[in-house]
Symmetry: none
DNA sequence: GTCATTGCAAACGCTTTGCATCTGT
DNA sequence: ACAGATGCAAAGCGTTTGCAATGAC
């Protein structure tokens, strides 16, 4: 989304090769992330890696997660109790429909909404746009009289 | 989350009148919440109350916010940097387009989005739906090359 | 040898909890 | 007076940062 006006100086110093290195830790983290497409917390990954006998420092996990998130290989979202959850990037950006009674969450998408947000922002001269959309409601289970409390 | 099994002795004690009391602090908090329909963090409210000369303890603010959230008078949502934002629950609403540099805010509406939210919720069997949409970006002024630094 | 990477330990920032004091009613 | 309300101080928690040691190339 960031279509900034980078006036690329572009001399010869163009490509700064990040010089990625392959390490046991990176591989271990990638392996765990790849083994499931569910959202996991950093602490969770830490525990699992440890259980697998592939101990990796928490710091390193956060490091990797940030890196992977930045490069778009991983998606991140935050829960209501302050944790950030990660999973390897499947499709793209989506939003949540949350039951305010039981907390059940459904992931939803709306290309039209994305476009609307973009266009509203553009109309007002805004650039580099992001947005937050959360839908709250009472799910069928919780709304049905059959489910007392 | 554990509001579980209170083995309510339930003689006639069914309705536990919470015996709400009116205090300066509650009124001050309600006043600030009522003065704007934007999302504010607890810390933010704390600062504003303090600025207004109506100092209220942070603990009390969290207390009230939890209470108001539970009774549905306030809506809560969490940002990506681990903060929880609150705003008084309004019936009619519009959304905000906020400049992340200068803070300028534009109120926007989108009937189509309202409908989209409704329909997504309905499709999933949810009722009594509300939603939150906030758009962030950089406004023209802040993005223009004329305003370096 | 160089430089990306790792990870311990400590710092952070928001939120929650313990508990003694205060205050509407 | 009594039960709800308040708020200081300190603990909790996930996350981030400082920085010296490690290891890929």
């Amino acid at each position: 989304m960031a279509e900034r006006g980078l006036a690329a100086p572009a001399a010869l110093a163009s490509a700064r090769a990040p010089q990625e290195r392959s390490t046991r830790q990176k591989r271990a983290i990638a392996a765990v992330l790849g083994s499931s497409d569910a959202f996991r917390s950093a602490q969770d990954l830490y525990a699992e890696l440890r259980a697998r006998g592939e101990a990796v420092g928490l710091t390193t996990i956060y490091n990797q997660l940030h890196l992977l998130t930045r490069t778009g290989e991983v998606d991140a979202l935050n829960t209501d109790d302050g944790e950030t959850l990660y999973r390897r990037c499947t499709t793209e950006h989506h939003h949540h429909l949350v039951c305010r009674d039981c907390g059940r969450t459904v992931e939803v998408e709306g290309p039209q909404v994305e476009r609307w947000a973009e266009s509203v922002a553009a109309t007002n001269g805004f650039v580099d746009v992001t947005h937050i959309i959360e839908i709250f409601g009472t799910c069928a289970e919780c709304a049905s009289p059959a489910a007392p409390q």
